[in-house]
Symmetry: C2
């Protein structure tokens, strides 16, 4: 895989690439001097192919994704006619077109996932599957480059008839991302050439003096920056800028509207800033990031309060049982926070990326890897289950590409050295900015255990900095030891421990984090969480699920104590640390505690006196609903 520079799914930037390219050096030279340097990024991404996951937390998820998620989803895409649609468009098969107008994008997202997956699991069968799909997709392309199965049959003369609603550019974007991923994973050009033909067509159709409009569902923007990075063709970057400027008049100062669209827009702005340094883009991403994390984000990192319009709500509107928190929005938040991290080099962005990864995003997929939630409530009193398919199957296809590309989110490099953002058993093999090869090997049982051992590999001693993230939840317990010494505060930089020295091959850095369960409170302006707490252990948010708490009605459960026992249970839910503590519920689990409304304090003591003490068992939120229909809650009342 040496020739592939694999960047992230919709990755934030490109680095010097040795991959053979469909574009000549000449075509790149005028603007990019042969490489796309993403100069405005403080931290440069490390390719997916440079990181090999060890036997840790995320590897288990990637295994499930590889072994069950990707093949199951391919079968379901085939069963639902999504591939047949391309064969219809190419004339290879006589069928009726099936599925929603944006179903092409689902196949493209699966292709992107399959491409990233090939890096960690070089499986010839998967590769053959992917090649077959690529063949069908490419065969369906129109001579002028256009490619969208919904508008190639009876509606062939109605291209772009309704961009606000019909997602043609959104589909195109996912094709481009799949193509770049495939190119980076395999070095092959077939799909990238197809994508470029379509992108070239778009540059002739849209822009100043041409059609002045963009898609109702952003996605094309970051995809165009990505295909620019892969090819060096400036027109793609310019078209991304045009689409962004067309979207911007709708921006207010605040994050609003459809959660996934809003976050994809911000990813596009961040990518555009990375390549151009455009200040307007930076102002937008900074302002809206602050609005997101301070008023519109769940403790799980989920985003999107409302089912209606799949929308972000008012500030502090974060209902738990009625949460929408679409899986795609949590994925988009990971993507956006990763880009912000690359732009700013500050740990607060990695904190939010980690929050979304372990909680809001991961809850979207079953432990088996082949069933998915679309909506992720933080309290459930019915018995909601993950499904193998959704009529709008955007979330499953988003999940498979995110999990397959996950190694790319763990480390970065900068002029100063190497950055460790996420903790997991893994090894990165890459080079410093000056070209010096290095490896970092993490040995850890994180997030179940707070010890991380990082071994530096070098050909020869070399001075540079290793930046190790101090998760905000770990403060003040976080300790980094090196060479028998503990480091002081002086070494901290933007939320990272910055260890600068002349590293020798085999040097070991030891990190210790206190993994006690912590009670988390919420800004009181989120009225639904006032008086309640969530429980977090390390980066993992916990919940009470009915399976483990048979003596209580989940809706009634209160936390009676802030002390928990943590025990790793290898046999439960794929291996988790369970928390055991003390809870409280009304005497009569189905009965009246008191009238719905009453004068404050009247008989309050009596109420508490007649409440049951019950054992309280908590499991990671991401693992809920893996043992049949159940009830669940993250936030529970707690009286200090």
């Amino acid at each position: 895989m040496a020739i592939a520079i694999a960047l992230l799914a919709g990755g934030a930037c490109g680095a010097a690439s040795t991959a053979r390219s469909i574009v000549s050096q000449e075509s790149r030279m005028p603007t990019n001097a042969g490489v796309i340097a993403s100069e405005k990024l403080k931290l440069k991404p490390i390719p997916v192919s440079a990181v090999k996951m060890g036997d840790g937390f995320w590897k288990a998820r990637m295994d499930a994704n590889h072994e069950r998620g990707l093949p199951a989803l391919l079968k379901r895409l085939e069963d639902h006619g999504v591939i047949d649609n391309f064969m219809l468009a190419s004339g290879r098969k006589k069928v009726e077109r099936k599925g929603p107008y944006f179903s092409d994008s689902d196949l493209f997202k699966w292709m992107e996932g399959a491409a990233w997956d090939l890096i960690s699991y070089p499986d010839p069968k998967r590769k053959a599957q992917l090649n077959r799909v690529i063949d069908e997709v490419v065969a369906a392309q129109q001579p002028d480059g256009y490619l969208n199965t919904f508008f190639q049959g009876e509606l062939a003369n109605q291209r772009f008839r309704n961009l606000p609603l019909e997602h043609e550019l959104y589909c195109a974007g996912h094709l481009f991302q799949a193509a770049v991923a495939h190119h980076r994973a395999t070095g092959e050009d077939k799909l990238l050439e197809c994508a470029c033909r379509y992108a070239d067509y778009l540059t002739t159709a849209f822009g100043p003096g041409k059609r002045q409009e963009t898609d109702g569902h952003p996605e094309i923007e970051m995809a165009l920056v990505e295909i620019y990075r892969a090819t060096g063709k400036r027109e793609y970057l310019n078209l991304a800028g045009f689409y962004l400027s067309t979207l911007e008049p709708e921006y207010g100062p605040k994050l609003k509207g459809h959660a996934v669209r809003a976050l994809y827009t911000l990813c596009g702005e961040a990518d555009y800033y990375a390549e151009t340094g455009r200040e307007v883009s930076k102002e937008i991403i900074d302002r809206q990031w602050k609005d997101l994390v301070s008023t519109k984000m769940y403790v799980t990192g989920g985003v999107g309060a409302r089912g209606q319009g799949e929308a972000i709500g008012e500030p502090y509107e974060l209902p738990n049982e009625q949460a929408y928190s679409e899986t795609c929005a949590a994925i988009a938040s990971v993507m956006f926070n990763y880009r912000m991290l690359a732009v700013h080099g500050e740990s607060k962005y990695a904190d939010e990326m980690e929050r979304a990864l372990y909680n809001g995003m991961l809850a979207g997929v079953s432990l088996s890897g082949d069933a998915w939630f679309y909506v992720n409530p933080l309290a459930e009193h019915g018995g909601r289950q993950r499904q193998e398919w959704w009529g709008c199957t955007c979330c499953p296809t988003n999940m498979v590409r995110m999990l397959a590309s996950l190694p790319g989110y763990m480390y970065s490099v900068s002029d100063e050295g190497v950055w460790v953002h996420l903790f997991d058993d893994s090894k990165v093999t890459y080079h410093l900015a000056d070209g010096t090869p290095f490896t970092l090997k993490q040995k850890t049982k994180y997030p179940w255990d707070g010890s991380v051992e990082i071994t530096v590999g070098l050909d020869a001693p070399k001075e540079f900095t290793v930046f190790i993230r101090r998760p905000s939840w770990s403060s003040p317990s976080f300790v980094v030891g090196f060479d028998g010494l503990k480091l002081g505060e002086a070494c901290r930089s933007n939320g990272y421990e910055a260890i600068r020295r002349t590293w020798k091959p085999g040097d070991v850095i030891k990190v210790e984090m206190d993994m006690s369960a912590r009670l988390i409170e919420c800004d009181p302006r989120v009225r639904e969480n006032l008086g309640s707490v969530a429980v977090q252990r390390g980066p993992v948010v916990y919940c009470a699920e009915s399976v483990d708490n048979p003596t209580a009605v989940i809706r009634d459960l209160e936390i009676a104590s802030n002390e928990f026992e943590s025990v790793f249970d290898a046999g439960t839910l794929g291996g988790v640390v369970k928390l055991t503590g003390r809870g409280r519920t009304p005497m009569d689990p189905n009965g009246d505690r008191a009238p719905l409304y009453r004068q404050l304090g009247r008989a309050l003591g009596e109420d508490y006196a007649r409440m049951h003490q019950v054992p309280l068992v908590l499991i990671p939120y991401y693992a809920w609903a893996n043992r049949g229909p159940s009830q669940m809650t993250v936030w529970m009342p707690y009286r200090q």
Copy 2:
């Protein structure tokens, strides 16, 4: 008005009537012995015409409704073509049909309101307006009795094509209710005869062996019971029973679905029970009432958590800012609770009726009487305003008929005596069950003041019971004095003080209620209210509005003390008691109090130390948004 026995808008029962009737005695005799006795009701309604409102709280609302609400709404109905639609149907005018398919119902509801209004305000101009409208409606009726302007033009052959969605029977129901009100208010038959022709047609079209279906929006059921009461025609009652039995398979054990439809169904079941004693109906109303008041009702008496489907939510799903709480649903709750009160004779139903009247319902109309809310949130951070018209204008038309019929909700009679449910300056002139005439005159400034003086009027001494409601919020302060004595607990009956004696003309009963402001807490399962309190004074729920609290951001406001000063301010909001107390907000009104999520208790003391103490001014919730765009909240954090 002696010949009119005016019952409620959609009233729960009929009493012995001396009104001339369009049906002969013969047609009534077989089943009703000449009168409809509503035998299953413990409490018999007193006609609207028997109650004259004094110079009190509700009279001011009725005046606004009479002087501005009814005429403004008639003009807007005309401007929107709602009357023209009837002229089109009758061939009197060549126009295009305008408005939604159910717009006929809006005119019928206005007509019902105008009819009740004539009782309290015998205004010849209003009567002429109503007669003109009646003339247009009757002229539009088809020869077979059918009447619906949406299905009399091009769609004439498509009657009842889509009952679940197109509301034909709903419209018919409002015609019947308007007709009964008009008949009771004026003794005239023209509209009632029109309604009967339509009802007769329905009896030929629907029922066992005929069309087996009912409307998606209940309303016809209670209307048919009402027209049965007015005419004695048993077929109408039977048809109501048929429609109810058609609806019932959709009932679960819990109240659910569209809030107004659910509550109208319950009104129909209660009315049907009143006339038939059918146990199934009673079980439904009892079970669902309990579910309503214990898990699905706002502290304002509002009902309906969700905009989507205008629906009741899950148990304890009662968001404040996102509340739907449609004005029509609060009106429906008043109607339903009044019926439950008549069935059971227990004060808890009157308590809920009063709660909805003073709060959830009354907030739906401006102080001027001619602008209306459709949605009634319990917190507003934008600047929502009442409007003069809504595309679906159900709420304004519902409000005008409710306010005009309000005198009918204050008193009842039973075999034992007279019942006082609501306190307001007023005089009832009626007769006991045995025919003995009496008057009760209430002198009070309720709800601003807790003193009520009730003077008994009789031709001669007479033994009977006066039942005076003890509002649940007044406990334990409620004191009834009579003849210099205070009554003991022994006299309490179903939440009423039951004073049995031989009453003499001029006897005076004195009621004293403690009107201190009280902090109200909510069942902790309504997570959005946990840790917060509402403030209630008497039956009136209060709120903080930005107009009165310029030093705070309403969303940030907390209550710092449980002590309030109450001052009646005649010059504000039509005259209200304002509450003044102490609040608290963050130092920086627009800034960060703390991260959205953080470890519990960390720096909590510091947070409170750096909060501003601010004066807190509260006004009645019903009066909010009468001084321009504003922010508002009912529930506010409070730390005991």
